[in-house]
Point group: C2
């Protein structure tokens, strides 16, 4: 038995959670949304819709893309996206530590 938690930011609908986080990290690493999707065994169309939904909900752009050119183009993170990533990272990590302690306090001996 273990604790599982999901945390996300929501406006009218889901805006930013673990899905966009992981995907953006891959985009940052590989410089391409297509490569990121492939690397995560995810269809390009799904990756694209994840980004678009998050952007629409947050109200600012997360990736800056070039189409065409050398290598066909690519995508890189906006500075706002980078801020979101670091904040989410810290938030999620700290939350995990605290929740684990709480879980042990209340369910540790029980389960």
């Amino acid at each position: 038995m273990k604790l599982v938690y999901k945390i996300w930011v929501e406006g009218k609908t889901k805006a930013f959670g673990e899905g966009p986080y992981k995907l953006l990290r891959k985009v940052e690493q590989l410089g391409s949304l297509n490569k990121a999707a492939q690397d995560m065994n995810m269809s390009y169309s799904k990756a694209w819709s994840i980004i678009k939904r998050a952007e629409k909900e947050l109200g600012f752009k997360l990736v800056e893309s070039n189409t065409g050119g050398v290598g066909g183009g690519g995508s890189r993170l906006t500075s706002q996206a980078k801020t979101m990533l670091t904040r989410y990272d810290e938030f999620h990590c700290e939350a995990g530590e605290i929740l684990t302690k709480l879980y042990n306090k209340y369910f540790g001996e029980l389960l």
Copy 2:
């Protein structure tokens, strides 16, 4: 923008979270799984499967039921179920306070 979180206990699959919690509270109050389901605008079969899955995963019974007899029968909580409810209550409440603080710390001025 607001924070949304879901927390549950998991074995091989979801075992105990807010769904079972709310349902068991209603069963406790009404003495019947059927009445509890109706009160929550939920089909009986869904209510039943929620309880069964949780019991199977946790490894102990959550409700004790009589079928037939006066009033058709009914269901009441086991002592283990009562323990789960109080623990989950405290856990969820404390977690909520802490996560809200964390959210404000990391996203308060940003979103």
